[in-house]
């Protein structure tokens, strides 16, 4: 009886549930394929998690406020081209800095439109999705930019204590996001306004600033993600980041966040990212046709939401 109640309490803590799920998935995959549990494959998994993982942080911020950001993929594409063009004019550090600023500004514009005019985030970011991709093509002249300085690749291939820099960046960003969301005024405000914006405003929280901020974070992290893509392949395509928003939303939802806002965590999202990446990786290892991946991921998304719904119903 007591072990059952302990187990129940354990299950109701989101992060622990996610760890359990990831471990279970890893166990199944390592039994199914001898190639899964090799150091090179595990490194591969982390490497593949970087871009999606970074974008998913921004998406978590937005979803916590009860919004959604459909524009992250095309903002990544657009800022990637901006980076490529800037790198022709200036050294790496200011170019990357300016690129991140452009990403943040783009997000802030969406956020401001949503907050000041009470527009639906779905619609505003859908518009931004179209605008971003279109600008990526216009600015690039419909061509990939491949004259990227080799030095940019240091962002990916430098190792710190044997860990590649891009993975370090991913983990540092997660740690920072977690600390921000759980231990600062801004973070708690984001949760509060996602849960009940009216109560948050009446209690004196700065709901205007913190409604816009998540979109700016999301836009900036899209720019960070595309910078790392460019560093890895030393080429930037205007189509970069296409459909990235759907994977990011999937990761956030699998990670247990409520699309109504107020509930979720970046730790959950990180495990959501791992689950997505592991399923794809495992299916590749097992030689399953890539066309089946969509079905598998779709089932996982729906199952994740269903489990959340059932658990939420029980705790009420």
């Amino acid at each position: 009886m007591t072990t059952m109640t302990h187990l129940k309490r354990f299950i109701t803590i989101l992060e622990l549930r996610m760890v359990l799920l990831v471990l279970l998935l890893a166990l199944v995959l390592s039994v199914a394929s001898p190639h899964f549990l090799t150091s090179s494959n595990l490194y591969n998994l982390l490497d593949q998690s970087v871009v999606l993982g970074i974008v998913a942080i921004g998406m978590t911020f937005v979803v916590l406020t009860g919004g959604i950001d459909l524009s992250v993929g095309s903002v990544a594409g657009m800022t990637g081209i901006v980076l490529g063009l800037l790198l022709r004019e200036m050294p790496i550090v200011p170019a990357v800095g300016l690129t991140l600023l452009v990403g943040a500004l783009t997000g802030a514009i969406s956020g401001a439109l949503i907050t000041f005019f009470g527009l639906a985030s779905f619609v505003v970011t859908l518009g931004m999705l179209a605008i971003g991709r279109s600008l990526a093509y216009v600015l690039s002249g419909q061509r990939s930019i491949s004259d990227i300085p080799d030095a940019l690749s240091q962002l990916v291939y430098t190792e710190i204590f044997g860990i590649p820099l891009n993975v370090v960046i991913l983990l540092v960003l997660y740690a920072a996001a977690w600390a921000y969301l759980t231990h600062t005024k801004g973070g708690r405000t984001i949760y509060a306004l996602g849960s009940n914006p009216r109560a948050a405003r009446i209690a004196g929280l700065n709901t205007v600033f913190y409604s816009i901020l998540p979109y700016a974070v999301s836009g900036m992290l899209a720019a960070v993600a595309v910078t790392l893509i460019s560093a890895q392949i030393l080429s930037i395509d205007p189509l970069a980041g296409n459909l990235l928003e759907l994977d990011a939303i999937a990761a956030v939802v699998i990670g247990g966040a409520s699309l109504m806002g107020g509930r979720g965590s970046v730790v959950g999202t990180l495990f959501g990212v791992f689950i997505l990446v592991m399923v794809r990786n495992g299916m590749n290892l097992l030689g399953v046709s890539p066309f089946w991946q969509g079905t598998a991921i779709g089932v996982i998304i729906i199952a994740a939401v269903l489990v959340e719904k059932l658990l939420a119903g029980r705790t009420r």
Partner: protein, 634 residues
């Protein structure tokens, strides 16, 4: 009355998981009665109402409706077919449809073809039957009507379905006293047509006003079944409800605060809408009640004070300094605490723990990024002890398992944590059972005794009068002077708080009187040795006070002459004359005093003039109190 019962409930139980919401509920509804279902929050009233209306499946026991046994799994649609309709607190009105479409909405779920014209007529008939044809224009969109009217649309919906059993679950929670009495009129009409009405409520006055019989639930069990309402008194009912004696809600001593420093002072305050001209003073340690109905601007005035609504006119001074809050943080930092009227929509963060909910204003008031939650733990414990919220409940993960009273206590801690000098409370006891109410009342008095100034808003005038030192009436966004709470009763306050527009006829009557004399005339509400001027003739002579002004009987010869109410002319020191008539309604309750003044005693029969004028007011239900009718020409 031994007619076949419409509804019979025998030993019905309901469990949710491990929680027993109902153990052994017994209840019988007869045709042509209004039957109160009474009990504290969580006693199982709403669960039982849900079972009878097919919204909740029962776990055990028997239910018969119109003599037919009903299976435990019984859908709302089957309930409607069986003739049972329910109106709940949360209205299920479709905003984008018109009133008539909403009234016949359930018909869309029925089989068969329907013609829009027939349905519209059906809706019109239902609204007529309730007597609300003037208030519910068929083609108005429901998005544009008030909460009270939405409730009426729901009731019309049930009537349109032809239900013989009508369940009203706390229908008056969002209604003003005037609206409530109109609702009672409609209920009476339905009762006389032989329908059975179940009235779920925890407001005693209302139960005594409208119900024939009462069934009391306590902890999921029927403790009194179908008692005649005449056989019970308020104290007895409360005893039945809580199973013990509780302290009276009203009896208390009010220390005088008029000589203490003014903390908050409003002069001519207005906003773009709803508030036009509000003035009041709030002293240290004083509780001032805003006596207004819904729509009077009372909540909007509170919003101005807490920085949620921009002030466009007037001045406010707070602790002697000018005050014009631009945001709720500013209001909080300046020492204003606020508990808004709707806890779930305006106060509670559902995904936060109890503790973090309590810390929400602290969070809003932080100037740096650090949370500093730990530094507040001692303060929270101290205030929790003060207001008797058990410390172990502070660490629950959600406010969902808190009763209304517990939620309100937690929210009080939230406000008190900011060390306010002024507390603005909007409907602090809405949806809270009598047991917890008493605790909250004691708490507010205690806080006031410690020097906190409290501005209180409540639709429950009994509560407002019991808690407040003074009452500032407000109607149509304008405050009207200030009354001392002792010596004022609910009926007087209701009269004073009516919307000004509805006083048009009274004003015309007074103007007419003044012309006939000729002189001046005014309608006063007597209140503890004072006369409150409710309305007056439009001549504007200065022998009588302006609307909202108060005359003290001890200080004014005019007031003395009028308050006497003997209908005779009394010579005043300034050479003019004054007379007063006490006016009462059909039930013999005084509704005010008509005061007249003139330079010389006129030749016209002023008694007859008043009587004739009264006959044209309020369908002739008012008359001059018999004891004072000694028509004698001086």
């Amino acid at each position: 009355m031994t007619s076949e019962p419409l509804v019979a409930v025998r030993d019905v139980s309901k469990t949710y998981g491990h929680i027993r919401a109902l153990r052994a509920a017994n209840f019988t509804l007869r045709p042509g009665e209004v039957h109160a279902l009474f009990g504290a929050n969580g006693a199982g009233k709403s669960t039982l109402a849900g079972i009878i209306s097919g919204q909740t499946a029962r776990s055990g026991g028997a239910l018969t409706i119109n003599g037919h046994d009903i299976a435990p799994r019984f859908s709302p649609r089957e309930a409607i077919a069986a003739g049972v309709g329910i109106v709940t607190q949360e209205t299920s009105i479709a905003d984008d449809l018109t009133i008539w479409e909403n009234v016949v909405l359930p018909h869309y779920g029925l089989r068969g073809r329907m013609s829009r014209r027939d349905l519209r007529q059906q809706a019109a008939r239902a609204i007529d039957k309730l007597g609300f044809a003037d208030e519910l224009p068929l083609d108005t969109h429901c998005a544009d009507i008030s909460a009270a009217h939405r409730q009426l649309v729901e009731i019309a919906r049930i009537v349109a379905l032809g239900s013989r059993v009508i369940i009203l679950d706390e229908p008056t929670a969002s209604l003003s006293p005037g609206e409530t009495s109109r609702l009672f009129g409609a209920m009476d009409r339905l009762r006389r047509e032989g329908q059975g009405l179940i009235f779920v409520s925890h407001r005693l006055e209302e139960i005594f006003a409208i119900c024939d019989r009462i069934t009391v639930l306590r902890d999921g069990e029927t403790v009194a079944e179908g008692r005649a309402i005449d056989s019970l008194d308020q104290a007895g009912l409360i005893r039945l409800m809580v199973g013990r004696e509780i302290e009276s809600l009203t009896a208390h001593d009010i220390p005088e605060c008029a000589d203490r420093p003014v903390v908050l002072s409003l002069r001519g305050v207005g906003a773009a809408r709803m508030v036009h001209d509000a003035s009041l003073d709030l002293h240290e340690g004083e509780i001032v009640g805003l006596g207004g109905l819904i729509g009077s601007g009372r909540s909007e005035l509170a919003e101005i004070l807490v920085g949620l609504r921009p002030m466009t006119r007037g001045t406010i001074s707070l602790l002697g300094a000018p005050y014009r809050p631009a945001s709720s943080v500013e209001a909080m930092r300046r020492g204003i605490g606020y508990l808004p009227e709707d806890r779930w929509r305006q106060s509670i963060i559902p995904d936060f723990s109890v503790r973090e909910n309590i810390l929400l204003c602290h969070l809003g008031g932080l100037s740096g990024p650090a949370l500093r939650y730990a530094g507040r733990a001692a303060d929270i414990d101290r205030i929790a002890d003060l207001i008797e919220l058990p410390r172990d409940r502070l660490d629950e993960r959600s406010m969902r398992n808190f009763s209304g009273g517990m939620q309100q206590k937690a929210l009080l801690i939230r406000a008190l944590l900011m060390e306010p000098r002024v507390l603005v409370l909007d409907e602090p006891t809405r949806g809270i059972d009598i047991g917890s109410r008493a605790t909250i009342y004691r708490l507010l008095r205690q806080l006031a005794a410690q020097g906190l100034a409290i501005l209180l808003i409540s639709s429950d005038f009994e509560e407002l009068l019991a808690l407040s030192h003074r009452i500032v009436p407000i109607s149509d966004g304008r405050t009207l002077g200030a009354l001392h709470a002792d010596g004022t009763d609910e009926e007087q306050l209701t009269l004073i708080a009516v919307p000004r527009a509805s006083l048009k006829a009274q004003q015309a009557f007074l103007t007419d009187l003044a012309r006939q004399l000729p002189g001046a005339s005014a309608w006063f509400i007597p209140s503890g040795g004072r006369l409150f001027c409710l309305s007056r003739d439009d001549g504007g002579g200065d022998t009588l006070p302006a609307v909202g002004e108060i005359l003290t009987v001890g200080d004014s010869a005019t007031a003395r002459a009028v308050a006497g109410g003997d209908g005779r002319w009394h010579a005043l020191p300034q050479g003019s004359h004054a007379a007063g008539f006490i006016i009462e309604n059909a039930r013999g309750h005084s509704v005010g005093i008509v005061g007249l003044t003139c330079a010389q005693v006129p030749g016209t029969d002023h008694h007859a003039a008043v009587a004739q004028g009264l006959a044209r007011l309020e369908d002739g239900r008012l008359r001059i109190r018999a004891a004072t009718t000694a028509p004698e020409r001086a």
